[in-house]
């Protein structure tokens, strides 16, 4: 399987704190991967580096064989990388419909059209309808995004990410703050989208049930490094991983 995304010695430090330490990692298409690790392990920083939200200190990134190290975020998105955010990041003053309309317009290269009416673009409207029906937000399409429930906002968050039809999509803690019912809904959507579309999901998660039930592959990070990488059953048996998590538990007990 060809490597969709590949890094070479990716590093990022904040002052004296090394968040990401010379990471060499790759992601292949069609393997739903979860990235796990204790708090501060560097997971979100890694995502930020890979998506271009943060500039790196050193290292290189390759996507579909081409180097994207110096390329800004919006260019990486155009090449096929997508992302949802840990902290809610939607367009609060626009309706659900408009929230999804924006990435669809961009994907169809219509964002610059300043003289045509929005409702004149039939294919855009159809596509927005399709996506919102897929995730179950169609009947809420006229609501303002800022007024949705937490769970619905997370769904919207994900819809915006997949509306750009990315080949590789990072989901940063997609189920955080959700009640069990909402969580089931999101997971169903991830499973379905993973099967139906050509999107490979890379998920950062803390909930181990979610991780072990969804993933084809698990990457474990600790202190900015990858300490384990393999199938769920391999990870479950991995000594290093146990120590890291057990160590964390011990520390918590002592404090």
């Amino acid at each position: 399987m060809s490597k969709l995304l590949r890094t070479e010695n990716l590093s990022k430090a904040f002052g004296h704190f090394t968040a990401v330490d010379s990471v060499n990692i790759h992601f292949t298409a069609d393997a739903l991967t979860s990235i796990i690790g204790p708090n501060g392990a560097g997971k979100t920083t890694l995502i930020n580096l890979l998506t271009g939200s943060l500039p790196m200190d050193s290292g290189r990134i390759f996507f579909k064989g081409e180097e994207i190290t110096k390329i800004p975020t919006n260019e990486r998105v155009k090449r096929g990388i997508g992302r949802s955010f840990q902290i809610m990041n939607i367009f609060p003053m626009l309706t659900v419909f408009q929230n999804i309309q924006i990435p669809v317009l961009s994907f169809l290269n219509k964002s610059l059209k300043f003289f045509s009416r929005l409702d004149a673009h039939g294919e855009v409207i159809n596509e927005v309808e399709r996506i919102s029906k897929e995730v179950g937000l169609w009947n809420k399409r006229e609501l303002l995004a800022g007024e949705l429930s937490h769970g619905d906002q997370r769904l919207l968050e994900m819809s915006i990410a997949i509306a750009s039809q990315p080949e590789l999509c990072f989901l940063d803690e997609p189920t955080s703050g959700m009640n069990p019912g909402e969580r089931v809904k999101i997971l169903e959507n991830i499973r379905r989208l993973s099967k139906e579309r050509r999107t490979t999901f890379i998920i950062v998660e803390h909930d181990m049930d979610v991780v072990f039930s969804l993933s084809d592959r698990i990457v474990v990070m600790h202190r900015g490094r990858v300490i384990a990488d393999g199938r769920p059953d391999e990870i479950r048996e991995n000594q290093n991983v146990k120590e890291v998590y057990l160590g964390e538990e011990l520390e918590e007990e002592i404090i």
Binding site: T51, S53, P72, T73, N74, V77, K78, G82, R83, F85, N89, I90, F91, P92, M93, L94, Q98, Q101, I102, P103, L105, S106, F107, K110, S111, L112, K113, F114, F115, S116, R117, L118, H121, V124, L144, I160, A161, A163, S164
Partner: protein
């Protein structure tokens, strides 16, 4: 949140207003025409400003600089070629070029830096207008600018010396400009701007280059300021440096705050209110800036949505209830 679906009562009122404006010269005297022209000019100025604030989330305190570019650009050409259209177009283009260049320097920054920079660059234009005597006439400005006839060679030539004629010119031009901007904000481009306003980080992840879109919005705002400025010299026959001063930049800010940031028509309503309020205040005291400032404070602290928000939140639902209207979907 920016409403763009037509509501039948609003559309009816709008049409009535436009018809009324066309009959104004028959109904009222010169002073009212003069004031109405100023209101229309401020409307165009403020709409451009609000494209940046309400739609893109950028607060610019230097729009007067581009207004002055439009005014001086038009004036300089009119003094040489007494023909109205080339003068206006020259003013617009002159402002647009400045907006493009200065915009490139400003839009790459955070919104706070952006506000500072626009203030500084606006005053830079002011200092140029004030000091460069040979080009701009210094603090005396340019005088004797003709209200040149509207000429299209071979087709028409309309004399503009009567205020009535110039009023119709200003009215038509402003209505066209307003209509064009309405189209722009309700286009894919307009929606994308609102996305930038709501979440810069998010929209980058939809493939949009935030810088480029901001620059385009800034340039459009500059062009509109330039148009507003260009309409002035034939009306007043003089242009002076204070047109570029930050206190003049305060006018579209005020008008937009008054009328409402979050609607398209807010700046227009606000322009009207601004002139009414200024007219009233000036009869009682020469210190009208204090009142202006106090109104800004009151609006920011108490009524961020402006007058139009009262209209939308209270009046329209009441009318719906009363007359049984259903909003079109």
């Amino acid at each position: 949140m920016i409403k763009h679906k037509g509501f039948s009562i609003t559309t009816l009122l709008l049409l009535a207003l436009i018809v009324f404006l066309f009959f104004l010269p028959q109904l009222a005297g010169k002073y009212v025409m003069y004031m109405t022209m100023h209101i229309l000019i401020l409307s165009v100025f403020s709409l451009g400003f609000n494209l940046l604030l309400g739609y893109t989330g950028l607060l610019s305190f230097g729009q007067a600089g581009f207004y002055a570019c439009g005014a001086y650009g038009c004036a300089k050409l009119l003094l040489v070629i007494p023909s109205l259209l080339p003068g206006i177009i020259c003013g617009i283009l002159f402002a647009g070029v400045f907006a493009l260049i200065l915009g490139f320097l400003c839009i790459r920054h955070t919104r706070i830096y952006f506000a500072m920079l626009t203030l500084c660059f606006g005053m830079m234009i002011y200092s140029l207008a004030w000091k460069w005597r040979s080009m701009t006439g210094g603090d005396d400005g340019l005088i004797g600018i003709p209200r040149a006839p509207l000429e299209i060679p071979g087709i028409l030539s309309i004399d503009m010396s009567s205020m009535g004629n110039y009023y119709y010119f200003v009215l038509v031009v402003c209505l066209l400009a307003i209509g064009l901007l309405y189209r722009i904000v309700n286009s894919p481009f307009g929606l994308t701007l609102q996305g930038i306003r709501d979440s810069e980080s998010r929209i980058a992840f939809t493939g949009i280059s935030v810088k480029n879109y901001r620059l385009i919005a800034f340039t459009i705002a500059g062009l509109y300021a330039g148009l507003a400025g260009a309409l002035l010299p034939p009306l007043e026959n003089t242009v002076t440096p204070p047109l570029a001063h930050w206190t003049h930049s305060a006018e579209p800010v005020m008008a937009t705050l008054l009328g409402g940031i979050h609607t398209f028509s807010g700046p227009i309503v606000g322009a009207f209110l601004f002139y009414v309020i200024k007219d009233i205040i000036v009869r009682f005291t020469e210190y009208w800036l204090i009142w202006l400032g106090a109104i800004v404070l009151a609006l920011v602290m108490g009524l961020p949505g402006g007058v139009v928000s009262i209209f939308e939140k209270r009046l329209i639902p009441w009318i719906r209830l009363r007359f049984g209207e259903r909003s079109p979907r």
